[in-house]
Symmetry: none
Subunit: 225 residues, 2 copies
DNA sequence: GGATTGTGTTAAGAGTTTTTTAACACTTTT
DNA sequence: AAAAGTGTTAAAAAACTCTTAACACAATCC
């Protein structure tokens, strides 16, 4: 089975967004789409190989969005815009844009440019989870919160990963025991409490104003978003 | 010592060619130049990292030249041209052009685009890794730290290379065992510790004031930058 | 050939970090 | 208010790592 490349379209104009969806599907890509930058940031958790980003977005500016997108994961970004101003263009390149296509653009040229940037991107898709201000990199075993790196032990890391993977869902204690502890005789109930406590402490140290892990009485824990 | 990136300028207009030479030298690149496609084919060798190709060349057509250049070595090619015709543009992309900039172009935009395409290419070719004050030459099996040559055994070399290739990311012990030891029955856990210890010693001897390899408990090691 | 040098592995003890346990205070539910 | 569950802390226990030293083996050099 061939894995299709995933392209995320970020475009507020409904007609253009739908046109692009159609164009890229025809060209054999898996397409995701968003109508705003904030929406895009949510979707970007998934496996995205390239982003087509329109500049004229309601809410956040294109500059902010490209910065945050690149922070999460370094995927190629092709900016499309009606703005021909050179300073804008150069700013975006500086922030990490990989290409800049002026609207109205030729569809085939866009496809050609997409191809170029997909080809160059050899990045093995590192599975990075991002919820709130927490970044968890499963491959690199790295966690940061509020921009600060935090050090988690292996068990703490596994617990947080599980909770984040099931964000907004309750992860039962038995699931946690099963997946975190390999041994048959699972650990004491209290052991889990201690680990949760330590994780909360470390997160609180990085960002005191936010609560991440919610206790679901007698059932388990939930990562709040 | 930092190795400069080599850019080959192919442009028949003397003024533009010289202007580009100056621009790119200023930007910190090593510059080679040709006034025709055939001349470019002679110059093009292993050391060229990117080509700026003008379309309006005497003799061979741009299409032919890009094909032959890419045959020699697949380096990124940025086409510059006064031609705005879309079919020409698409043809060139099809033949392997990585970007197409219409003349007259903005110098800073060209530099930005050069940066994009050089960045994408870094993974594959360069056999020399440089992080902090360590230079590791995969071809020559040579390592220097703080200006001093240091002698690593083959296994030590492979370990350090892996860590440097995945700089700032944790390299798990299982990855190390897989990639450093070919045999099915991988070495003892402790064997790895001993090798790491020896590498750390040799690096410390060359530069006592720096820490390079970080231990990630129960997971693996990480080269810190 | 025999000595020398260098490499790779194993073993052992010291050292470090993580995990668990236990105790007690606290919170929620009934 | 009692019962059940949770949070936090400190200390013991377990797991893991680091270093040193010893040994086997291979390559190199008189």
């Amino acid at each position: 089975m061939v894995k299709l490349k995933n392209i995320l379209i970020v475009e507020d104009d409904k007609d253009i967004n739908e046109m692009l969806q159609e164009l890229l599907k025809q060209a054999g890509y898996d397409v995701k789409y968003a109508y705003s930058g904030t929406e895009a940031l949510l979707i970007h958790n998934d496996k995205i190989d390239l982003i087509i980003l329109d500049l004229m977005l309601p809410g956040k500016s294109g500059e902010e969005i490209i910065k945050e997108l690149k922070d999460i994961k370094d995927v190629p970004v092709i900016v499309t815009s009606a703005i021909t101003d050179m300073d804008t263009k150069l700013d975006l390149f500086k922030l990490g844009a990989n290409d800049y296509v002026t609207k109205p653009f030729n569809n085939d040229e866009l496809l050609a440019r997409i191809k170029v940037h997909l080809k160059n991107n050899t990045n093995s898709d590192s599975s990075i989870l991002k919820i709130k201000d927490i970044l968890l990199d499963s491959n690199g075993f790295k966690v940061s919160c509020n921009g600060k790196d935090i050090n988690l032990s292996k068990i703490e890391f596994e617990i947080l990963k599980l909770l984040m993977q099931n964000c907004n869902q309750v992860v039962t204690k038995s699931v946690l025991f099963d997946k975190v502890w390999d041994t048959v005789d699972s650990a004491d109930e209290n052991t889990l409490n201690v680990h949760i406590s330590k994780i909360r402490n470390k997160l609180k140290k990085a960002n005191p104003s936010e609560e991440y892990i919610e206790t679901i009485w007698s059932i388990g824990y939930k990562f709040k978003n």
